[in-house]
């Protein structure tokens, strides 16, 4: 990827709980995101995959400043995103968009589609009157909905159409970076394909940069240029989609990939089955976080956190990323 860097994340951390309140007891610290390093290049789609509860949604919310990070650094187009406050933060929000998972929950049923799509414009006082109407009509056209949709209410649309409305809203301020949090997971498979197609078209047309969060590896393989795999609040492996899917270096990635159903019963498969459950983020294991479930764990894994092994564009946080043990 030769494009310039748009978003650079270093040591991003989000801990929940902890501090006791006036009428609240001390709660254990939940390490939802615990030291994430990432780079997103301009115009690319970075896929984030991982099991439920691995912190991928929390990370997405940190990057659009819906949550305040506990620590770390995020540089967006040269600006220190996490330190922004007040007007400067409001201004940078124009460049950030978000699309949510559930198209039934993400649109206020009491508003018309016009008001929903124009909401970011209203908040930033970016367009009023005829200009506002024109912008809404344009956005509806861009996402493939008829202009007549503007005066209807969300309940009059199907799931796919509602997700198009959500995308139009995210696009209304012409952002450069959009976080798509499980944006197609709630949709039928056939509708998923349409929405993915639409996202690809929009990216090409407007030069958008996507962070595509999903638990669905097949979808990520389809849309992402690069993929990062998350486990217990950390990135365990990242690399170009093709390389990562063809030759995963981290045993967790190998296990995830081997779990993808293959629609060919004749094809020989080697399943890597993980034992046990994901450890609690309240008390993550010492050493390598994955050692409790890792099929190749050694003594060193229980004691020392692995250093990220850097290939040309491919990283894997495993002591044995280069050893023949992990070769698939």
């Amino acid at each position: 990827m030769t494009h310039p860097v748009l978003l650079k994340v270093e040591g991003l951390t989000k801990h929940f709980g902890g501090r006791p309140g006036l009428f609240r007891a001390q709660r254990p610290v939940l390490r939802a995101v615990d030291g994430v390093d990432l780079v997103v290049h301009r115009g690319e789609t970075l896929g984030i995959v991982g099991e439920s509860g691995c912190g991928k949604s929390t990370m997405g919310r940190l990057l659009v400043r819906l949550l305040d990070a506990t620590g770390g650094k995020v540089e967006f187009d040269g600006v220190d995103l996490l330190s922004l406050k007040g007007r400067a933060l409001t201004a940078v929000r124009r460049d950030l968009g978000m699309v949510f998972q559930d198209p039934w929950a993400s649109l206020d049923g009491r508003m018309t589609v016009r008001d929903i799509i124009a909401e970011p414009l209203d908040i930033h006082r970016a367009a009023t009157g005829a200009d506002r109407r024109r912008r809404v009509a344009e956005l509806l056209d861009v996402v493939g909905l008829p202009a007549s949709a503007a005066d209807k209410h969300p309940h009059q649309f199907s799931g796919g159409q509602r997700q198009r409305i959500g995308i139009a809203r995210a696009l209304s301020l012409r952002p450069r970076f959009i976080v798509l949090d499980e944006a197609v997971s709630a949709l039928d498979v056939s509708v998923q394909a349409q929405i993915l197609q639409l996202l690809g078209d929009l990216q090409a047309e407007f030069g958008l940069t996507f962070l595509f969060i999903s638990h669905n590896l097949a979808v990520v393989r389809n849309i992402a240029d690069r993929v990062a795999v998350m486990y217990l609040g950390r990135i365990v492996e990242s690399g170009p989609t093709q390389a990562l899917f063809d030759a995963p270096r981290h045993p967790y990635t190998q296990a995830l990939l081997s779990a993808i159903p293959v629609p060919d019963p004749e094809r020989p498969r080697r399943r890597v089955v993980l034992k046990g459950d994901v450890p609690s983020a309240l008390a993550p294991p010492a050493g390598c976080r994955f050692h409790t479930r890792c099929p190749i764990a050694q003594e060193i894994c229980r004691q020392t956190p692995p250093v990220v092994t850097v290939g040309p564009d491919h990283t894997a946080a495993c002591h044995f990323a280069d050893s023949p043990l992990t070769a698939s």
């Binding site: 124009r94 978000m98 929950a105 993400s106 206020d108 159409q161 301020l173």
Partner: protein
């Protein structure tokens, strides 16, 4: 996007949410009957002025010679213990009682709404503070509190003694007392609803675009808590009318000779053996009002809940 997954235009005709709700409310028979009854009650009390002028009767003038007169052509419901026209006093009293019910509900509702919204939305310390205050209010025993509030000397608060002894002072005293003790339910209701609403994705979407807390509350939270607020409000009206009669019963409500259903009922307690009708009339009106408002609340609940059938 193909034309296939678009519903036919007729189905998509935008029907305003409020028209839809009115339609659903009309389908709720007891709610509609109750609404009719309440409208009749309001018309009945509003007829007091014109009728008094027409008949040439002063509802406050006493006539000791005609105490407890039975119903007659001139005085349809007879005379009360001071020789005043019972029917006219019921009508005037209704104006006060219904007004107290509506105004106190409104003031207490707005206070509860503000407290519940800020506690639920901002959370944290403010929430803890406001909700412990609310719990405290709920924990206070009602009756001693009412007596204390009722005994407050308005002249000491800087009001003129002329105002302090007027009927208006009695009315506002009742309204304020009731609003002060009756906002807690609304506050807890609104807080609970706000807590769940503020986590909705559409609220997050607005925040991600940079919406201020005030914008989110006005654009998303308020319209979505409107349903429980309206329903709880109707239920409060009935309770407040009863509370006013309790206050009047304690002697702190509307000051005689201004009638209210509450103080008429209170006044008739000691006469219940000599003139039972004087207790029955105001009691009946309070009863009908409370029942009607409760059924309207039922109807509204039905109208606002798209999942309810029938």
């Amino acid at each position: 996007m193909t034309a296939l997954d678009m519903a036919p235009p007729s189905v998509q005709q935008a029907q305003s949410v409020w028209r839809l709700r009115w339609k659903r409310f009309r389908g709720h028979r007891t709610g509609m009957i109750a609404l009719g009854v309440l409208v009749l009650l309001v018309l009945f009390t509003l007829a007091a002025g014109p009728l008094a002028a027409l008949w040439g009767i002063d509802p406050d003038s006493t006539d000791l010679l005609s105490r407890y007169d039975p119903p007659s052509a001139d005085h349809w419901l007879g005379m009360d213990d001071a020789g005043r026209d019972e029917l006219l006093r019921l009508m005037y009293g209704g104006q006060i009682s219904l007004l107290v019910g509506l105004v106190s509900t409104l003031i207490g509702g707005v206070a509860g709404l503000g407290i519940g919204l800020s506690a639920g939305y901002y959370g944290g310390r403010l929430d803890a503070l406001l909700m412990r205050f609310t719990d405290g209010m709920i924990a206070l025993p009602l009756l001693p509190l009412l007596i204390v509030f009722g005994a407050v000397d308005l002249t000491k608060l800087g009001f003129s003694s002329e105002f302090a002894h007027s009927g208006a002072a009695g009315f506002w005293r009742v309204v304020v007392i009731i609003a002060v003790v009756d906002w807690t339910q609304m506050a807890r209701l609104v807080r609970a609803a706000t807590l769940s609403l503020k986590e909705r994705d559409y609220v997050l979407a607005a925040k991600a675009s940079g919406a201020s807390p005030l914008y989110v509350m006005a654009a998303h939270i308020l319209p979505n808590v409107a349903t429980p607020i309206i329903v709880a409000g109707t239920l409060t009206v009935g309770r407040v009318i009863l509370l006013e009669s309790v206050l009047s019963f304690l002697g702190f409500g509307i000051v005689p000779p201004t009638p209210s259903w509450g103080n008429m009922l209170n006044n008739a307690q000691e006469l219940v053996t000599t003139a039972p009708a004087l207790a029955v009339y105001p009691g009946l009106f309070i009863f009908i009002t409370v029942i009607a408002v409760n059924f309207i609340g039922d109807g509204l609940q039905h109208a606002f809940d798209p999942r309810s059938s029938r």
